[in-house]
Symmetry: C2
C-alpha cells in the first residue's frame, strides 16, 4: 500500500495535532455533482452502481477531484447487508428502498444468516480494494455500515417508514425476537466492517440513522448496546496504524455521554447541538465530527464562510475536530457553494491549530 | 357558560393537586376512529371539514364519547392562518398541503396582512363556540395554533418539505426578511389565539413542529423568540380562571430550560426525553405534558399498561403532569388499544396523587 500523503483526518479522529481542520461531507459522492449523475445514468439502477467496483470507485473519487477534501468514503448503500441476507432489495423511483421478504416472524428471524463479506458482499470489498488502489495514498478511505437498529427498521418494515409501527411493535411485544434479530445483524455488521478494514478501509463509521426515534431507555437497549458490541469486536489496527471508529446517531444529541463510553474514537454530531456544549460533555474521551447545518449550503458563499467560522469557533482551539455537515448534503446544492465551504474550513481553521 | 365538571387538565397544567393524572392525545380526533372517517367522508375535503363548525364540533367530541379523556381539542389545521392570508391552501391526496402562492420575495412578505379572526377565520371561532356549547362543561376545550416558525416553513416552501432549503435559505441570506415575515405571523397567531380564548378556549397550545430542525442559535432567534412574543401578549384569564399556555417543540428536548423561561405554563415533551430528567431540568417553573412513544399503541393492551406505569413512575409524585403521547396518534392504531391506554393512566396514577 502506498504511503498516506494527507493524514489530517485520521490524526484529528485520534485527537492528534493537525495543521488545519480536516473536512469531508456525508454523501459527498452524490446527486449534487453533475459527474455523479452522469455515472449514475451510465450504471443503470442505483444498486447496479453500488455493485460495480469500478463505478463505485469512480463516484467515490469524483468529489476529491473537485475539492481538497481530507477523506474519501466508500460509495455504497447501508442496505447491502439485508440484501445479502436474501431479503430482495429494490429501489423504486420516488418510493425509496423496498424489501420483497421483510422479517416479521420468529421463523423469518431464525432463517437469517450472517453474510460472507467475501461471498455475497465481495462486490463491496472489491470496491474498497479498487478505491484504495486508485486513491494511491491521496487521503484515507472511510468504510461504513448502518447500525443494527437502523438496518432492522428497514428489514422489519420492509422499506422506509414514517411511523416505524412494525419494528417498534416487535421491540415492545417481542423484545426477545428483536434481540435475536439485532444480534444477528450486529454479527453481520462486525464481520462486514472487519472485512472492509482488511480490504483497505482506514477508518469506519457506523450510521445510526433511526436511533434518535427511540426513547432513552429503548435507545440504550436496542441500538447503542449493539453498536457497542460491534466496536468491541472491530479490528482496530491495520498497516501499523490505528483504525478509528466513528459513531453517529442522528438526533442522538441527548445521549452523547453514553455513546462516548462505548469505546469509539469519535462521534458524529448533527446540527441541533452546539459543538462547544458537546465538547464540554464528552471531554477528551472522543473526537467530534460535524456539525454544520446542511441547509447553510443553500445560502451565499459569503454566508457559508461566516457559518464555517462560527462552527470552528464553537469547537475552539485544540485537537479532535473533523469538520462535516450535520447530515448528508442535499441533492440540489450548487457545487460552487461546496467549494466555498471546503476552502473556508481550511482557510479559517489555521489559527485554531497554531 | 356551564360549570366545568372535570377540571383535572387545567389544574395539572397549573401544577395544582388532582385526583388522577389527566390524559388526552394529540390528534385524538383523527383517522384511527371509524366515526371520524365517516364524518370526514361526509364532509368532502379536509378543509371542508375544518371549515364547517358543526362537523368540526362532531369530530372534536367523538373521542370523548368513546374514552374518558380529560380534555377536548379544537379540530382544525395549523395552516388556517396562511390560508386566511390568501396563500391558496389545498390538500392533494398523498402529497400533503400545498400553497398556490408561496411567500418568497420582499414584496410577498410586505403584502401579508394579519387576518381578522372574526372575519376570514370566523369559521374557527364559530367552531370553538359550537364545541364549548356542546361540551356543556364535560371537559375543558384546548385551542391551538402552529408556531410562527412552523407556519413560515410551509408558507415559504409552498407546502411540506424534507429539506427546508427555501426557508432556511431565507433565514441565512435574508434574516431581515425572515424576521419581517415571522413578526407578521406572530401577530396573526396572537390575535388568532386571543380570539379563540374569547370564543371559549380554556387552554391554548402552540405547536412548533419544525423548531427541532434548527441549530440551537437559530431556534432561539427564529422560533422561540416569536413564541415568547405570543406568550407575552396572550389573554391569560377567562371566566375568572387562568388560561394555561402549553408550548411544544417537537425534537426540542435540548432547549427545555429556554422554553420554560418564556412564561408559558406547560411544555409538551416528545418521547426522546426521560420525563424524570425533564422534570429535574425545569423544576417547578412549568408543568409537563407527555411523553409516551406513540408507537407503544401498536403493542398489546398489557404492554401498553406496563408502559403507562413506566411513564407515570418516571414523572413520580407531585403535581404538574398531563399524560399524553409524545406526538400525534398514528392513523392505523386499534381504537381498543387507545381505551386500554386511557384507562391505565387513570387506574395507575391514583397512588401518585395520594
Amino acid at each position: 500500500m502506498s504511503e498516506l500523503k494527507n493524514d489530517r483526518f485520521l490524526r484529528a479522529l485520534l485527537r492528534q495535532p493537525v495543521d488545519v481542520t480536516p473536512v469531508w461531507m456525508m454523501r459527498q459522492a452524490g446527486r449534487y455533482l453533475p459527474e455523479y449523475r452522469a455515472t449514475r445514468a451510465k450504471a443503470g439502477s442505483f444498486m447496479d452502481l453500488c455493485k460495480s467496483p469500478e463505478l463505485a470507485c469512480e463516484v467515490t473519487i469524483q468529489p476529491l477531484d473537485r475539492y481538497p477534501l481530507d477523506a474519501a468514503i466508500l460509495f455504497s448503500d447501508i442496505l447491502t447487508i439485508p440484501d445479502a441476507m436474501g431479503l430482495g432489495l429494490s429501489f423504486n423511483t420516488g418510493e425509496g428502498p423496498q424489501f420483497a421478504n421483510p422479517v416479521r416472524t420468529p421463523q423469518d428471524v431464525k432463517n437469517l444468516g450472517v453474510p460472507d463479506p467475501e461471498g455475497e458482499l465481495k462486490y463491496v470489498m472489491d470496491a474498497v480494494r479498487t478505491i484504495r488502489r486508485e486513491l494511491n495514498g491521496r487521503v484515507p478511505l472511510i468504510g461504513f455500515s448502518g447500525s443494527p437498529w437502523t438496518l432492522a427498521t428497514y428489514m422489519v418494515e420492509g422499506g422506509g417508514s414514517k411511523e416505524f409501527g412494525k419494528v417498534k411493535g416487535m421491540i415492545f411485544d417481542r423484545p426477545d425476537l428483536a434481540h435475536q434479530l439485532l444480534d444477528t445483524v450486529a454479527q453481520s455488521v462486525t464481520s462486514y466492517l472487519n472485512a472492509q478494514i482488511a480490504a483497505g478501509a482506514q477508518a469506519v463509521m457506523i450510521f445510526d440513522t433511526w436511533g434518535g426515534l427511540l426513547t432513552p431507555r429503548d435507545y440504550k437497549e436496542f441500538s447503542l448496546r449493539y453498536m457497542q458490541q460491534i466496536v468491541e469486536q472491530l479490528t482496530r489496527e491495520a498497516d501499523g496504524r490505528k483504525v478509528p471508529v466513528i459513531m453517529f446517531t442522528k438526533g442522538g444529541g441527548q445521549w452523547l455521554e453514553a455513546m462516548a463510553d462505548t469505546g469509539c474514537d469519535a462521534l458524529g454530531i448533527d446540527w441541533t447541538l452546539d459543538l462547544a456544549d458537546a465538547r464540554g460533555r464528552v471531554g477528551d474521551r472522543v473526537a467530534l465530527q460535524g456539525n454544520m447545518d446542511p441547509c447553510i449550503l443553500y445560502a451565499s458563499p459569503e454566508r457559508i464562510r461566516t457559518e464555517v467560522g462560527t462552527v470552528l469557533k464553537s469547537f475552539g482551539h485544540g485537537n479532535g475536530h473533523v469538520f462535516n455537515l450535520g447530515h448528508g448534503i442535499h441533492p440540489h446544492i450548487d457545487p460552487e457553494n461546496v467549494g466555498a465551504f471546503i476552502n473556508a474550513v481550511h482557510d479559517l481553521s489555521k489559527p485554531y491549530h497554531q
